[in-house]
Structure formats: C-alpha cells, structure tokens
C-alpha cells in the first residue's frame, strides 16, 4: 500500500509545486553585487529603426537590410560620466501584436526610447499608444523616456515636423531628439541621455525621504527582490 501513498503525493505534487516555484525565483542567490545596470527598452512601430539604432550604438555598424526583430537583448559596458556601468538594451518587436506580451517586455525596463520615423506619420501617431501602455505598465509619470525621431538623414521624405514632435514631447514632459542610425547622428546621445535620466531616477529612489518616487520605483521590476 506504500505505493498508493507515494502515488497520491505525486498526484497532488503538481499543485504544490507551482506555488513553490515563485519562491524559488525570489530567493535566487545574489552572488555578487553587479555593476550598475541600466535597462533601456526600445519601443516604436515596425521599421522605424529601433534595431538600427541599437546596432549602431552597440557595434558601430549600420545594417541596411531590414529584417523584423522579434526581441533581442544586448548588453554593453559603457563609461557614463566617469562611472563604469552596463547598459542593457531590449530591442522589442514593433510588430508584436499582443499587448500582454508587450507588457512583459515593458515591465523590465527602466527607461524607454520611443522611436518613430520622421518619414512616416503613422509611426509618430502610434508613439502615444506606446507611451500610454508604458505609463500603464510602469505606473510612473516620471519614467525615464525619450521621444526619438529617427531617419533624420532622410530629410527630403520628412512627414513629421520637428515642431509637431516637440509639442508632443513637451506635452509628455520628455525630451525630443532626432537621430540617424545611418549617419550615427545623436545615436550615443539618446542612449547616454536616457541612462543619465535612469541614473537620476535611481538616485532619487534611493533617498529614503523621497517617498513618492521610492514607491513608484518599487512598483517597477525591483519588486521581484522583495
């Protein structure tokens, strides 16, 4: 009859197993204090040049051929104002249809580069959707965020005016930068600017008296550590 007991335990095991799984995830050993990592997420509709910007920043190369990204993550050591940090870039798929999946991407980001193509009005319009979703997921008005108008080298095909874009940036209380992945114009700037914002945010969150921001910070991905 021993086999039956075992059996029942095994049969029941499935349910208990799932509840303990999250515990495992939380109590993961933090082996060593990692160098500061700033997590940047590239968002924007398909074909605006998110990957191009990322690759230019990472490897100083410009890829002409377009191939839709699924989701790629990059990491690189950079010198941020005399401090060595790591930048973790999540290059998301502009074509991702599923809001639920996008939510999962956004949750792990500390700062966002919201990219549109100045040659495509539609891509500019959809930035508000991305913004909206990010705010909803992060639940933080002050989340580090840059509005990036890419493909500035293609001035002759411009559909989105600087004024238009800046107006929106102002409305959101974020900066607007125009870049060209092809010429590398402003590529470093957007990443470094965003990292600085992230750093500032983190510093602010670390201050115990800054109650409000701290809370918000916690609603971000760090809550995993709790």
């Amino acid at each position: 009859m021993f086999s039956c007991l075992n059996l029942r335990r095994r049969l029941r095991g499935g349910r208990q197993g799932s509840s303990s799984a999250s515990w495992d995830a939380m109590s993961k050993p933090k082996t060593q204090a990692p160098a500061v990592i700033h997590k940047v997420i590239m968002v924007g509709s398909g074909g605006v040049g998110k990957s191009a910007l990322t690759l230019q920043f990472m490897y100083d190369e410009f890829v002409e051929d377009y191939e839709p990204t699924k989701a790629d993550s990059y990491r690189k050591k950079v010198q941020l104002d005399a401090e060595e940090v790591q930048i973790d870039i999540l290059d998301t798929a502009g074509q991702e249809d599923y809001a639920a999946i996008r939510d999962n991407y956004f949750r792990c980001g500390e700062g966002f580069l919201c990219v549109f193509s100045i040659t495509e009005q539609e891509s500019f319009q959809s930035t508000s959707e991305f913004r909206e979703q990010i705010l909803r997921v992060k639940n933080d008005e002050n989340i580090p965020f840059l509005l990036v108008g890419n493909k500035m080298d293609l001035e002759e095909r411009r559909q989105v005016t600087v004024e238009e874009a800046q107006a929106r940036a102002q409305e959101w209380n974020v900066s607007y930068v125009e870049t060209s992945a092809k010429t590398r114009a402003n590529v470093d700037k957007v990443f470094y600017d965003l990292m600085r914002e992230i750093r500032a945010q983190k510093v602010a969150a670390a201050k115990p008296d800054n109650d409000k921001k701290g809370k918000k910070k916690k609603s971000g991905r760090k809550c995993v550590i709790l």
């Binding site: 086999s3 049969l11 095991g13 499935g14 799984a21 999946i101 995993v224």
Partner: protein, 691 residues
C-alpha cells in the same frame, strides 16, 4: 577415529589445503589408512542420513508440502506484483502523449501529433509533481531540452534546468539532486504561452547562446548549449505561440459568432458574458455556460480524476465505479459544452483504464493461480457490468471458467479403473458447469442476453469434455460393461444440469452417438457370435452342481439377475434343468441387456431393440435346431424346458427392464413365443413318434 575425522572435516575453519598437506606428509600407509577412514565415514554418513530420512519422514513430507504451498504463494505474489507494476505503468501513461522526446531536435510536427499520448507520459515519468500539467486534454509536448538558468542581472550561471515546451505552455523543471528511478526533474513552474515574452540575448563576453523569458514578475534567462539549440528554442517558441494565438483567435471568433446568434434569438441576453472565451465553436447556449463552468468547479468533481487513479491503483474497483457512476449521473443533465467535454475526456480515459484492469483481472494466464477463484472474478465482473461492459465481462468470465475446468480436470489423476476416473471426471466437470451456471446467474442477473452466451459456452465445454471422455472410454479397449457404466455416469451427471435449468443431455447424446452406436452394433454382434459358438458345443446335459451349496449359490446368482423362478428349474438338490449353454447365455444376455439399457437413448432405441431380439432369437433358433436334430431326440423334454425358461422367465424379465427404461414393450416377443410353440410341437411330434 571416524568421529574425530568427521569433527575435523566439519569444523568451520577447516582448510582443505592444510588438511591434505598434513596427510601427504605421513606417506603411503597413512594415506591408505586415511582413505579407509574417509570411506568408512562416508558410509556411516550415508547410513545416518538414511536413518534420519526415515525418522523424519513425515516431517520431510510436511516440509515438502509447505514448500510447494509457499512456492505457489510466491508465484501468486509475483503475479500480483507484476500486476501492480502494470497498473503503475498504465497510470503513468494516463492522458499523456509520445515518447519521441529523446531526439526532440529532429522531431517532426506530425510525429508529435501522432503519439502525443506517449510524450506526456514521458513527462509524468521524468518530472516530479507535474501531474496537473499533464491532465489538460490535447496538451502535448513540442520540444524539450537541457538549459542552464542564468541570473538575468549578472549573467552568472545559476542551475541546470530542463525545459519542456508544450503546445500551450512552457514548463521549467529543475534537476533533482538525488535521482529516484526514472524521475529526473522536479517541476518548478509553468508559463502560459499566451503572454510569454521571449527575448533573444545577443552574445556578450561569456554569455553566449542565451535567451530570456519575461513573464511578470519573473525574468528568467536560460542558456542553450550551442547556437543551433538556441535558434531552435527561439523558433519553436515563436511558432508555438503563433499557433496558439491563431487557435485562440479562432475560438474567440467562434464564440463571438455564437453570442451573436444568441443575441439574435434572445435580445435580452446579457452583453458582457465573461465566459465567452471559453465557449466552444458550436452555437451552444451561452446562458448555460456560466452554469457549466461553475458546475465543473465543484470540488469533488475536480478531485475525481485523481481519486479514480488512486482507487484503481488500490484496486478499489467498487469505489472507482461508484465514483464514475456519480460523475455520470452528475454530468448527465448537462449539455456537452467544451469544458464539460474536456472533463468528460479525462473521466473517459480513466474508465478505459479501469476496464482494462478489470479485464486483466478476469484474464486467465497460465502462471496465474486459479485459487483466486470465482469470488474474485465475480467482483470484477460486477464492476464491468456496472461500466456497461457486460459482453466483455461475460466473455472473460466464461473463459476464466474454462481455464478453471481445464485446470481441475488436469488435477485428476488417471489411475485405477476407468470407471472410477470417469466418475470423478464427470463429477468435476459437471459440478464445475453447475457452479459456473450458478455463479453466472449471480454475476449477470438480469442480463439475459448473456445467458445464451453461457449456453453456447456450456455446449463448447461439453464438446471438450466428450473429447476427453472419448479418449478414455471409446478409444480404449475396455469391456462394454465399463463403457456402458461410463456413458451412464456421464448421461446421469449431465441430466443433473437441469437443476440449474440447463438441458444438455440431447447434446451429449448427439456427441457420443456415433461411438455408442458402433459399440452397440459390435457388442450385439459379439453376443450373436457367442450364441452360435456355444450352440456348436452344446451337449444338452443338465448341470450337476455336486452339492446343495453350489446349487444354492447358483440360485442366488440367478435371483440376483432377477430370475426369481429359478427354483422351478432345479431338482434333486444338485441338478438344474438348464444346460451350461443356457446358463451362460442367460448370464451374458442379462448383463448385456443391463449394459444396453444404460446407454439407451432415443437415437439408439431401435438398435438396442433389435440387438435384444436378435440375440434371443439366435438362441431360440439353436434350440429349434436341436429339437429337429437327430442327436438330441432323447433330450426333447429337457430342450423344451430350456426353451421355456428363456421364453417364460428371461424374456419377460428383459421386457420388463426394457419397458422401464424405454417406455415401450419389447416388440417381436410374439415371434419368440411362436418359436417356442414350434419347439414344443416339434418336440411333441418327435416324442409322439417315440411313443
């Protein structure tokens, strides 16, 4: 000295090398001496052993018997264990799918589809605590492989895991530190593919071939073995997600359509149906969907599949069937919408399982002891009937009993007289049939359709019985009396089957007809031959018994045969008016008649009748001849007396016996009387000539 040697040899620390060494030192004489000693010792030992055997003879027998019983029990035990193993194995395979996982890298889509059933079984076997995962119907394994989990922050390796990609979710299992049998992994977590975000991690430094899984609140990072493996993971993950979402979309659309339809028919229908997504494509009644889903959330119902597993494992078949009936009753009144159907599938699978186990229970295998007996069978049969599998149950039940009968018959030892063996055979066989019949009626009450199966079975068994019977009886060179006795025994036993309402006598007669007919013919012919033979040697002399005692013995003998008027044929205290021929004939004829009447049945009626008449007629003819003959002119009175004995004593007696068995008068007795009258007149004529 011998004792000393025995002591040395039986010492626990006895070393043959040393012993021989020491021996060989002493030279030839010592050796020779030792040889004698050893020889003597061996003889003594043999004698002692023999003595001991005699002394403990009864104990030996008892021990041997104990051992054989133990052996039987071990067999049974081993069989039960095999059974248990089988049950465990089948349990493992519950609701699961395809074991082509080992080389999952080459797994083609179709292959996965083909034996989905097995691969989830593989899961259950290898992963501890994943039974809830495997219970979802239609779920199957798409891909799996070893991965190394990494810290998403530091990129340090954390632990080895094994990931299983199912068609709708991703399961992560950790390696067990201590392997227990086939179980290698422990279930850790399961991610639905719906909202699972997969991120390809570009190689950086030591971190190669990694990818991330984002599923709030977890961020998990895994490292594949090589770029190819990683590519595969990403591709398959992507593809599975697409497939799933396409499927979901389909379902949703169908559900929406269903709602639309519903709206058209009942305008009052609530707009926001929270269960719309769970609806099945066919236009079900959305209003009942709520009900259905709630219906399935009853706790005992959710527990039932597991409870069934346990019940089957514990061989609590009654309990299992109770549960199934309860569920059936519960689900009966509800339409078969998707959630119910899925649940149904789970239950059905277990019903199948249970049926198989029960069938196995009834299966008779050579190594299986039959001692478990009819009670165990009845139990399994009852449950099978409750499951609505009465035909199978009936079939197996009867097969089981066939095996039992065969076994019982084999237990009978063929020794001693055939009659004795046949009597025991009949006893065993027919009582088995009776028992089976009674058992059958208990096991299959109200299942009248099965009764015809029983009758057919009984007939088949009877056929087998007749075959055994035939080899023992008809094909052996036994005397007709013995054969008749055996046939009588069989027919008599067979007739007793009518106690359970089974009439097989006609079938038995039919099966034995040819053999019996042949025997009747043969024996009849023999008798006629014997009559002729004796006639040739007949001297027509009265028998002188020498003393009164012998005559008395003769009279007794005749009385015993039923010839009560024998005293009228004796005279002078030592004489009888009958010839040796007549006496021999009468004895043989009476025995023959007795035997014939034992095998009498309607189909042999005519043969028997004519044999009766023929033999007697032959004898009468001999007498007639004798009367006419010149040699016996002086003996006419004596001859007539003998004829009179045959016609007036033997014939009526035979007729009486014949009538008692067959219900008819013996025909053609008239002819015999005629013949007697003829003899009388002939005798008178010849007497008259004398006078």
């Amino acid at each position: 000295m011998g004792d000393g040697l025995a002591r040395i040899l039986s010492k626990p620390e006895f070393k043959p090398e040393n012993f021989v060494n020491r021996l060989s030192l002493g030279g030839e004489e010592d050796l020779e001496d030792m040889r004698h000693k050893v020889q003597r010792l061996s003889e003594e030992t043999a004698v002692a052993l023999k003595k001991n055997v005699y002394k403990n003879y009864s104990q030996f027998i008892e021990t041997a018997r104990e051992i054989s019983i133990l052996e039987g029990e071990m067999y049974q035990l081993s069989h039960m264990l095999t059974d248990q193993k089988g049950i465990m194995n089948t349990l493992m395979e519950l609701s699961l799918t395809g074991d082509n996982v080992e080389d999952a890298e080459e797994v083609e889509e179709e292959v996965v589809e083909e034996d989905t059933l097995k691969s989830l079984a593989f899961l259950l076997e290898k992963v501890e605590g994943c039974s809830s995962v495997t219970e979802v119907p239609d779920r199957h394994l798409v891909h799996n492989g070893d991965l190394v989990e990494m810290d998403p922050e530091t990129f340090l390796q954390l632990q080895k895991v094994h990931a299983f990609l199912l068609n709708d979710s991703l399961m992560i299992a950790t390696w067990l530190p201590y392997r227990r049998g086939p179980v290698k992994y422990r279930f850790q977590t399961l991610y639905e593919l719906d909202s699972l975000a997969v991120v390809n991690v570009r190689d950086v430094g030591n971190c190669k071939n990694a990818f991330k899984i984002l599923m709030f609140p977890d961020t998990r990072m895994f490292q594949a073995e090589n770029p190819k493996a990683k590519r595969q993971w990403l591709d398959i993950l992507e593809e599975s997600k697409k497939k799933k979402s396409a499927l979901d979309k389909q379902r949703k659309q169908a559900a929406a359509a269903a709602i639309q339809e519903q709206r058209v028919s009942t305008s009052s229908f609530d707009d926001s149906n929270p269960f719309a997504e769970e609806e099945e494509p066919e236009p079900a009644r959305p209003s009942s969907v709520t009900l259905e889903t709630e219906l399935l959330h009853v706790e005992w119902l959710q527990e039932t599949p597991e409870d069934l597993d346990v019940a089957i494992a514990q061989r609590d078949f009654e309990g299992a069937v109770d549960l199934i009936e309860k569920v059936n009753e519960y689900l009966q009144n509800y339409p078969r919408v998707l959630p119910v159907r899925e649940y149904r599938a789970r239950i059905d699978h277990r019903i199948k399982q249970l049926t198989e186990v029960l069938m196995q229970e009834l299966q008779s295998s050579p190594e299986r002891s039959i001692r478990g007996g009819p009670r165990a069978a009845r139990r399994a049969v009852a449950q099978l009937i409750r499951l609505g599998k009465s035909p199978q149950a009936c079939d197996l039940f009867l097969k089981n009993h066939s095996a039992m009968i065969k076994y019982n018959i084999r237990q009978l030892k063929i020794e001693g007289a055939t009659t004795l063996y046949i009597r025991r055979l009949c006893e065993v066989f027919f009582s088995s049939i009776t028992e089976t019949g009674q058992e059958f009626m208990k096991a299959f009450p109200e299942h009248f359709a099965c009764f015809s199966a029983f009758v057919v079975w009984a007939r088949e068994e009877l056929q087998a019985f007749v075959k055994t019977f035939g080899t023992q009886v008809f094909q052996s060179k036994t005397r007709f009396s013995t054969i008749a006795e055996c046939v009588y025994e069989a027919r008599h036993s067979c007739h007793l089957l009518s106690d359970i309402g089974l009439e097989l006598l006609f079938a038995l007669d039919r099966m034995m007809e040819k053999d019996v007919a042949r025997l009747i013919q043969q024996t009849g012919d023999h008798q006629v031959e014997a009559v002729k033979h004796r006639a040739a040697e007949d001297l027509w002399r009265p028998v002188n018994f020498q003393n009164a005692d012998s005559l008395k013995a003769f009279e007794d003998e005749m009385n015993e045969l039923g010839l009560t008027d024998i005293h009228s044929y004796t005279y002078d205290k030592v004489f009888t008016a009958l010839t040796t021929n007549t006496i021999q004939f009468t004895k043989a004829y009476m025995i023959f008649c007795e035997d014939m009447l034992k095998v009498h049945c309607s189909s042999h009626h005519h043969m028997i009748t004519s044999a009766f008449v023929d033999i007697l007629t032959a004898q009468m003819k001999h007498i007639e001849k004798s009367v006419v003959s010149e040699h016996f002119k002086k003996e006419h009175k004596f001859v007539v007396q003998n004829a009179q004995f045959l016609v007036e004593s033997v014939l009526p007696l035979v007729d009486r016996k014949y009538t008692a068995v067959s219900g008819h008068k013996l025909p053609e007795t008239g002819d015999l009387c005629e013949s007697f009258k003829r003899i009388q007149s002939l005798a008178k004529v010849t007497l008259g000539e004398f006078v």
